[in-house]
């Protein structure tokens, strides 16, 4: 085979592998109950596929082929280890994949990715470990990529992953979709992990642009996988509890992502929502996300992700910034603050009130919420207060708040924005 066609074959195997990976790994964890064995077996199956597929052709059911091959390799290895450990049972190598190829095409492995997601996001694991493990097992990111995304040294990240996998095995974290008591907190922890991955990509951080885009798309993929897996299990009580919020989260992420090209200027500066060029928003994605949100809301089980998505949808649907329905947004923030009380939500609520009823109403709402202590170290609190004071013509107070915000802000794009505001006021 020529180098070029060999490369093409390799790329095609790797693409199929990427698509099938999560499902195959879930099946293997289900069989062996051990992430390390499952990952090693999956790697062995990839090596075999890279040898065989370019010669024999891609099997009709590549997922089943990979799962069976990986299972056989892992069983071989376990037997070998047992033999080395002193047992003298007969070593029988399991049939090579082509021998059972026909049988494999007809074989259907159940999709166990939902169990895998719940296991990776178990609250007995630290949240940073939940995030890393989910990206590794379901997203197929390498340890190096995850380390880069979270600005963590590779050995630290590798250790975190190994430790989490070991705890799952040794502390007896079960591989199952929870149906018992406490299912609500389990669901919340899965959604939180997916949203954390998205935010790591969305928030202007220090990791590079490509990596951030990758994280956003990975989170959206995970959200989509969740919704489709839940669709298959529509009778389960867990799923009924889970579904509207899972759809709300997916809609929320897609709405944010649809605006990504307008969010950063060609010079790399952060562009505020009201100043964004709305022609750069992806209208098709927005329409799909709004449709999904409507389906979620129809279940009448409102939750924080649906409310946040509803707020994002109101922004996304306004033809111009001036057309934004701020009164409705302020009401949604009030509902959100009721459901999940948080100083940051109160801050956003006050900003919406200011847009609906003017800067004075906004400032009163902001100061009434008593956020000065909780958000004392949060640059956006000071930036918002500065903006309201500026609009009220209180130049001196506004400057003080802008400077406080600048002191606390670590992001280059946001710092540039604050500096320009300070320069204008000082003129």
């Amino acid at each position: 085979m020529s180098d070029a066609s060999h490369e093409a074959a390799r790329a095609s195997v790797e693409r199929i592998f990427h698509d099938e990976r999560g499902r195959v790994l879930a099946a293997l964890v289900g069989v062996f109950g051990d992430f390390q064995i499952a990952e090693d077996a999956l790697h062995d199956a990839l090596v075999t596929a890279l040898e065989r597929w370019p010669v024999d052709g891609v099997p009709r059911n590549p997922g089943a082929w990979l799962t069976t091959t990986a299972r056989h390799r892992a069983v071989d290895k376990l037997r070998r280890d047992r033999r080395v450990a002193g047992g003298d049972e007969e070593l029988v190598r399991l049939p090579a994949p082509e021998v059972v190829a026909d049988e494999m095409d007809a074989m259907i492995y159940p999709d166990e990715r939902l169990k895998l997601i719940f296991t990776c996001c178990h609250p007995a694991l630290a949240q940073e470990a939940q995030v890393a493990l989910t990206l590794r097992t379901l997203g197929g990111l390498s340890t190096e990529e995850i380390a880069r995304a979270f600005l963590t040294p590779v050995p630290t990240m590798a250790q975190r992953l190994v430790r989490a996998q070991r705890k799952i095995r040794d502390a007896g974290i079960p591989f199952e979709v929870p149906e018992r008591l406490g299912v609500g907190e389990r669901v919340a922890s899965v959604l939180a992990v997916v949203y954390l991955i998205f935010n790591a990509g969305y928030e202007a951080g220090e990791s590079d642009d490509l990596m951030r885009l990758h994280l956003c798309e990975e989170a959206i993929d995970l959200g989509r996988t969740l919704v489709s897996l839940l669709d298959d299990l529509a009778e389960s009580a867990t799923v009924r509890l889970f579904m509207p919020e899972a759809m709300g989260l997916l809609a929320l992420m897609r709405l944010h992502h649809a605006r990504r090209r307008a969010r950063v200027s060609p010079e790399g500066a952060l562009v505020l929502l009201e100043a964004q060029d709305r022609r750069l928003w992806d209208r098709e994605v927005i329409a799909e996300a709004v449709l999904l949100l409507d389906r979620a809301l129809a279940a009448r089980q409102p939750g924080p992700y649906q409310l946040q998505a509803a707020i994002a949808a109101l922004h996304a649907q306004a033809p111009e910034a001036a057309d934004t329905d701020w009164r409705q947004i302020a009401a949604l923030y009030a509902a959100l603050a009721e459901m999940t009380p948080s100083p940051v939500i109160e801050l956003n609520r006050a900003v919406a009130v200011a847009m609906a009823d003017g800067p004075l109403a906004g400032l009163m709402q902001l100061d009434r919420a008593g956020l000065d202590i909780a958000l004392a170290e949060y640059h956006l609190y000071h930036a918002a207060r500065a903006d309201l004071l500026r609009r009220l013509g209180m130049r001196g107070d506004a400057l003080l708040e802008y400077r406080r915000a600048l002191d606390l802000c670590r992001n280059a794009a946001e710092r540039a924005f604050l500096q320009s505001r300070i320069a204008t006021l000082e003129r």
Binding site: P123, R166, A171, G172, G182, E185
Partner: protein, 115 residues
């Protein structure tokens, strides 16, 4: 009277021990256990997996919080213990949640080592 003996060791040192060193310590513990048996003093005992395997459960305002890692608050001290049988960590968390100690303090769960 019954007494609980709590054994504190340096996990980092333990993990760095060679198989021979581990075996030597194990032999010492076996001899000690036998001694306790000989004096009719043995009521039970287990080796625990390291604190990296620990999960802590507490109930506040009726809400359950589960965290990774051992109980690290220095204001509260070990006040009792149970050894329970559960099918998996979820089962053990259910049992820990029902323990009054989860409301009044915290309950650290540690898997017992299979020997």
């Amino acid at each position: 009277m019954k007494y609980l003996l709590m054994i504190y060791t340096n996990e980092a040192n333990d993990a760095g021990a060679t198989p021979e060193e581990q075996m030597a310590v194990m032999t010492e513990y076996r001899a000690y256990t036998q001694q306790l048996h000989d004096h009719n003093a043995y009521k039970g005992g287990e080796a625990l997996m390291p604190t990296s395997m620990a999960t802590t459960v507490r109930i506040r305002d009726g809400k359950r919080a589960i965290t990774d890692g051992p109980f690290a608050e220095t204001k509260e001290q070990l006040g009792g213990f149970f050894i329970i049988e559960a099918p998996d960590l979820n089962g053990a968390i259910e049992a820990a949640s029902m323990c009054p100690g989860a409301k009044y303090g915290s309950v650290e769960l540690r898997p017992v080592m299979e020997m």
